[in-house]
Symmetry: C2
Amino acid sequence: MLTETLNTQAINTQVRGKIAPAHPVSDQFGAIAGQVGLVATEFSYRKDEEIYGEDEPAEYVYQVITGAVRSYKLLSDGRRQIGSFHLPGDVFGLESGPSHRLAAEAIIDTTVRLVKRASLEKAAGTDVQVARKLWAMTAGELRHAEDHMLLLGRKTAMERVATFLLEMDRRLAVAGMMALPMCRRDIGDYLGLTLETVSRALSQLHAQGILGFSGARQIVLRNRQRLHNLDA
Amino acid sequence: MLTETLNTQAINTQVRGKIAPAHPVSDQFGAIAGQVGLVATEFSYRKDEEIYGEDEPAEYVYQVITGAVRSYKLLSDGRRQIGSFHLPGDVFGLESGPSHRLAAEAIIDTTVRLVKRASLEKAAGTDVQVARKLWAMTAGELRHAEDHMLLLGRKTAMERVATFLLEMDRRLAVAGMMALPMCRRDIGDYLGLTLETVSRALSQLHAQGILGFSGARQIVLRNRQRLHNLDA
DNA sequence: CGTCCATTTGAGGTGGATCAACCCTAGTGG
DNA sequence: CCACTAGGGTTGATCCACCTCAAATGGACG
């Protein structure tokens, strides 16, 4: 279905080389595509649109250009665990095996760059630098997952929310302010909490003057040190 | 300290090629060491001995020959999250970056095979097949971590214990029986529960006839289907 | 200006944690 | 060979952090 939609909806801009990420992150994807001269295609998804499903064949690898994406697993009764959020510059959907092990959806309207997984595999078979880079990207995801297991298994609700805020502050703060793309339910499903518990923790931090709101999703951290102290 | 002890305590058997794992798993480590002709050294640790600490430089990569190992992270106040158990045949301590991101300890007396990380890196720089294998091993760890995040974030205590039993049954059952190397506290710290909650869940499964005990750590699964049903 | 969600807040319930005995069993030494 | 001991495991009683259910509030968009 992605291939179908590619023909009908895709902008189909074929691009070579780097993209300018929204933030000063190392441009992992460009570092590959650029070097190896892969063809990258841009594509857009609307809010809540599925990008790929769990266990679906991993045909493409993606990089967020604008927008935000959630990767998640579901239990049969609908309980959801979001494993990570993907923000501009992030690569997602990279698999060593044949299929995606989490589903991915656009959180808001999102544009991605994508390349065929097969072409990356081919490049990795030729160029050991590319192979090394793919390994490093998977290892980076593993590091995040290991940190997140500690959070999910052992941190209190307030510690989880503090960790989340510091992560988002690091990843998407502009001029000391962050504009969260995701709703409280997404945050809860990322942190292993309910949306109400997330809301209460944020209200408490607000009451303590640790953060300020300008709209529920526009947050300013006023005291990162105290937030760090709350984060075990 | 590993290098010191290597000289004083190590059997220092230098081996080439494959080892025979205790179970019919694909012998990932031998598949590398054998092909590339790396020198592997055997080494033993006593129960509860540290193999490496969190954030310690990743000098070696390990494979369990006999025994069992836990990999974990700690919070400052001592709360612990075990990320995985390593059983005979398993490779652990493989890092793409410079340091170990979890600590590792022997659960019981354990013998490992180890190779220098640098020699693996070197081999990966030459042989793209080795590079691919290292990536696949890290990706396998990531898959486990992703599954475990779902467990820690969203499963009930009984579901977690059921998942644990099925995992251990798959990985170390011999003749339909499993001999758990780890104590109830380790199981709790793996599942994000207390040891009492683990014990109660096991007692309940015993009362329902789903499993049998012959000693607290010798378990026979009598009804895998019902266990699967309890596992969301 | 009204509608629709997202968010907040309140009230009460509960699953798993905590605190506390007690009980096995393997290992030790007499 | 058996009594003793220590550490791991089980079970009970109570507590509480977070969940659930419910209602009010707020903000974005037509």
